[in-house]
């Protein structure tokens, strides 16, 4: 199922004009505060009626301004995690969680409530009212409520912003599983580049109500020209490989087009596909093969593209095997090392610098 959005809407002082397709998997809506992310999500949910355009999921037309079609929200079969929780104050946490299940009857069965309660760590809260929850607890309940309604389209507006990193690390794999095991399109709003890079299949970057760039995550993230839009300091590319071995000393070996990448221990079984985000700032360049270094991952590479911004850094696109990786070095280093397109060199990548949250 693909979600396809083409809409125009005018607020006083702000115009929304976006068109993008969200294929199965997670489509990350990315953009600065006030760029129109929530407005897009609201339009998809039927809470905002755009001035013009169409919205469809697979062959279901949800909205068509010209033909005056506007499927009411409750028949759009979606789950929405709002930016501000919106729990029902008069119901207990348990009742909030179960609210959508009633209408989901008959749709493809999803996870039992217990599993999601455990995942979100809200077991002890089940009999409380939302008024007696902390900010993060509220948000976790809101996530659970949306997931339990067994949606055919999931909208998540900064669902993890209020959560600590440990909790985030627990919830993200679940969302990834949702992405991989169902063909539910997920529209995911986030400010966090690592989060987006980790889970997004597709990235839609918004700026002032318009689509700046959109496309498959791997392609968009490995392009040094896109990096500034995402925040240059968070640039990084994605490598895919196959899990080869889990060593006893806590290192996982991943086979990819350029050789073997050593990572901190992963849970995925041997043979599984794995996607790893390599942050540009974690990739060092060496002109000669380094020795006696704590880094396990040293690969011969070729410089494909150099991008010099206004800042002190240079963004280097490297080809390792058939994969693309970004490296960010200072201008001084680049000059001293005489980096140029086509040149061969070594890419040094510390194992531990592949952060847990960047693997998925």
């Amino acid at each position: 199922m693909t979600l396809s959005v083409r809409i125009n809407h005018g607020f006083p002082g702000f115009a929304l004009d976006v068109a993008f397709d969200a294929p199965p998997g997670i489509t990350a809506l990315f953009g600065k505060s006030g760029s129109g992310k929530t407005s897009v999500v609201n339009a998809v949910a039927g809470l905002l009626r755009p001035d013009a355009g169409t919205i469809r999921v697979a062959d279901r037309l949800l909205f068509d301004a010209e033909r005056r079609i506007c499927v009411p929200t409750h028949r759009r079969r979606l789950g929405y995690v709002f930016q501000e929780g919106r729990l029902f104050p008069h119901l207990t946490v348990r009742q909030n969680l179960c609210y959508g299940r009633w209408f989901a009857k008959g749709r493809a069965g999803s996870d039992p409530i217990d599993r999601i309660v455990e995942l979100l760590g809200i077991g002890p809260l089940l009999d409380r009212q939302p008024g007696a929850l902390s900010g993060g607890e509220k948000q976790r309940v809101a996530i659970g409520r949306a997931l339990l309604s067994e949606p055919e389209l999931l909208l998540m507006d900064e669902p993890l912003a209020a959560l600590d990193s440990a909790r985030k690390a627990e919830i993200l794999p679940y969302i990834q599983r949702l992405r991989d095991e169902t063909d539910t399109p997920i529209l995911y709003v986030s400010h966090s580049v690592p989060e987006v890079a980790r889970i997004a299949t597709t990235v839609v970057a918004l700026e002032a109500g318009r689509v700046l760039r959109s496309g498959p995550a791997q392609a968009v993230l490995a392009d040094p020209d896109v990096a500034p839009a995402l925040g240059i300091r968070e640039a990084g590319a994605l490598l895919s490989g196959i899990v080869r071995e889990h060593a006893e000393d806590g290192v996982t070996a991943l086979a990819f087009s350029g050789g073997t990448l050593y990572l901190p221990l992963q849970r995925d079984p041997v043979g599984a596909d794995l996607r790893v985000r390599i942050e540009a700032k974690d990739v060092l360049l060496a002109t000669e093969a380094p020795t006696g270094l704590s880094a396990l991952n040293i690969f011969p590479a070729r410089i494909e593209k150099l991008r010099q911004g206004d800042g002190p850094g240079v963004l280097v696109q490297l080809r390792i095997g058939t994969d693309l990786v970004l490296s960010r070095v200072t201008r001084r280093s680049a000059n001293r090392m005489g980096l140029a397109v086509g040149q061969s060199c070594y890419a040094v990548l510390k194992t531990v610098s592949v952060a847990k949250q960047d693997i998925g």
Binding site: R75, R86, P89, G131
Partner: protein, 232 residues
Amino acid sequence: MTDWLGPEAWAAVALSLQVSFWATLLSLPLGIFVAYALSRWNFPGRQLLNGLVHLPLILPPVVTGYLLLLAFGRRGPVGSFLEETFGFVLAFRWTGAALAAAVMAFPLMVRAIRLAIDAVDPKLEQAAATLGAPRAWVFATITLPLILPGILVGAILAFAKAMGEFGATITFVSNIPGQTQTVPSAIYAFLQVPGEESTALRLVLVSVAIAMAALLLSEVVSRAVARRIAGQ
């Protein structure tokens, strides 16, 4: 006790309770519906409906009673229709007293409930819709529980008003002991007779006590509900 008040007065108390109770209970669903429509829907004639609902508040009660008599009396268009079709008579029956009380109390009930509905955050109703709940279900499970304190207030206002309603009732269904003589009519009758003020006073005390008890109860219940909503 019977001695203290006299059988006629007791009958009036019993009748007033019956009249007020049914007037409140039966007009409540309509009151909620009208309040919801006025608060949430935009339809032609909204302002007209709004005005109509408030009419009994604006008109002197005698006029309302007179209009009720003209419409629902046995010779009136609605009254004769009801009698012929369903054999249901309002005029000069306690049912008519209940109708008069309900009509007089209706604006108070609707306004209270409407204020409560206005205060419900539509975002919560939207959230329920995203979870797949159809409108009626959203109303029943989200809006209704949230406005419960308002409904209670509306009901108790209506009940209190019904206990005190005089002008419209006596004009519409008269003051027939045991049938349409409510507490206010009885008080009126006693006040017409010099020397009966003390009986009138006792009746006043009884009806005040009843209404205060109802008021207190509604207060307690609506606070409890509000506390529950706030998360204890």
